[in-house]
Symmetry: C2
């Protein structure tokens, strides 16, 4: 099986590549060929001896997507995109990468023709929803994004559904909750603190908490996100039907409960490295985000997230810290 | 005030132009300038002595939209588009006209800059919804179009909402129910019979009814549609908020009730011109369409449709038949 990953150099793309290299299989079939595309060159997986192509290219530039699908990958994980903050700051870049790039990919698949019909798994986001919200967002809640990023994700979902209905490809869009704990350095995303208040203290550093401890949010680990992508690649088309965009499950908890979980896992000293410094802008942004979901369809279709925030922390310690905590 | 109408040569475009020429005003301000654009040259309104420009051009072709907005119209009615059946038969044409054309218009407005911020009223459609449905579709029902046309309308709504949120323009998208009675010749749209079973008998011709009389559908007259567009142009932005797409009201009734209304208005002889000829394909298509809506927001915002199907028939007789029925 030939797998193409767009956005392969990003955090999720790298972890997905690692997982496929370990599994050597997808949907019960051996994976013997990987094509990894990103705007920066993806790292070549060292332990994968079969056919690998890595390519640094912009999907929205004419010809890139055509080349990426020319060898007819069976499964395409479309993860490429600029993040929420960047798409909001740079209007043109956001639409170029997140919309034009996605459309170029779908059109390149259509252009292949001759019965080519790959499975396309698209990493969408809960940002397709915008306030005001009911207590928990149901699967049938309307799309009212309040960011350009969310708009671009919603549009790509709609295109993917139409191309699926037309028989051009087999699309699945998974709407990810916040992925926590993100490894690496803090970024400037407004949601960054959800990871930061766990990651920094575990690494011996102070972290800033800009919102109240009563804030409710829904999280899944990077490992769960990879699990969602792989599960989506194998989903039964008939069970999915025409509604190909699915709200993923996650762990819903307050920031206070996140901190309590950190204390239980790593002790008081680690938990005490969180400093409360309210930030009015972040408070306002976070208030406009969805808090809770009721992702019945995804659960019925077998998607699984963690059961507790403690589990999310332990996955980070295991996957990204080699099991070690800075006490 | 300068008003631009795209799709001005279409049925709604022509009726909207006529209405503006009669009213000579919009939102309480005099209309002294009209720009009428369509793929075929719109007819120049005879009785309008002020500045009128008509142009036959394709909005999606680079430069057309730029030219259309170069004289900074205050209100833009964006009606241009290919219909449902055509967008389904010709994939590329549908995306070209309905998506690329709409995006070109929005981008042309953005490119003007310098504080230019027109009101943009977009004629969307209930086709943004796809089965299965609840008994009545609420305002917050999700977007799951089952046609390329519905997909293109939903995407344009999302773009319009994002451009509005960004302060580039003031968008309103109105989702029209079926517009009945359409004047003129029968067309091949699957929904054509909803108009045909009224129009043809009133003109002394036989009409074919391809579905059961128990089929439920929601209708509004062309006059009501023009009223929606004009009301949308004057809507208070603050009352609209971020959710700029509105389900319009209409008259919900069965096909049997349509026929009974025709009998009451025009007599038994006219109503007897309807022949029952079931068509399995049309039955299937119509079953997938929304039947009933609960358009609370639009009603609260003051949008008004007819109160009965009889009223819809009388409007057709008045507007399109000069008050005469072929008895």
């Amino acid at each position: 099986m030939h797998v193409l990953i767009t956005g392969a150099a990003g955090m999720i793309g790298r972890k997905l590549t690692e997982r496929l290299v370990v599994d050597r299989a997808l949907n019960g079939q051996p994976v013997d060929r990987l094509t990894l595309v990103d705007i920066v060159a993806p790292v070549r997986p060292a332990s994968f001896s079969d056919h690998v192509k890595t390519r640094a290219a912009d999907l929205a530039v004419p010809g890139t997507a055509t080349k990426a699908v020319s060898e007819r990958p069976d499964v395409i994980f479309h993860l490429a995109g600029v993040v929420s903050g960047e798409a909001e700051l740079d209007f043109e870049k956001g639409y170029w990468v997140n919309l034009d790039g996605s459309r170029a990919l779908l059109e390149a698949i259509r252009a292949v023709g001759e019965g080519y019909k790959p499975r396309v798994v698209f990493s969408s986001s809960m940002a397709v929803f915008g306030a005001p919200f009911p207590h928990a967002i149901p699967d049938e809640f309307h799309l009212t994004p309040l960011t350009s990023y969310g708009t671009q994700k919603a549009i790509t979902e709609l295109l993917l559904a139409d191309y699926t209905r037309r028989g051009i490809l087999e699309g699945v869009a998974i709407r990810l909750p916040s992925i926590v704990v993100r490894p690496g350095k803090p970024n400037k995303a407004a949601s960054g603190f959800f990871s930061g208040i766990i990651r920094e203290p575990l690494a011996g550093m102070d972290a800033i908490l800009p919102v109240k401890e009563s804030v409710v949010h829904t999280h899944a680990s990077p490992r769960a996100a990879i699990g969602f992508l792989i599960h989506a690649a194998g989903l039964d088309r008939d069970k999915l039907g025409h509604r190909i965009a699915l709200n993923m499950p996650g762990v819903t908890c307050t920031v206070g409960e996140q901190i309590e979980a950190l204390r239980r896992v790593a002790g008081d000293k680690v938990a005490s490295r969180i400093r409360r410094e309210p930030d009015a802008l972040i408070v306002r942004i976070v208030d406009g985000w969805p808090h809770r979901f009721d992702p019945q369809r995804a659960i019925e279709l077998g998607f699984q997230a963690e059961n507790s925030f403690e589990e999310i922390i332990r996955i980070h310690i295991d996957e990204d810290l080699g099991g070690k905590i800075a006490a």
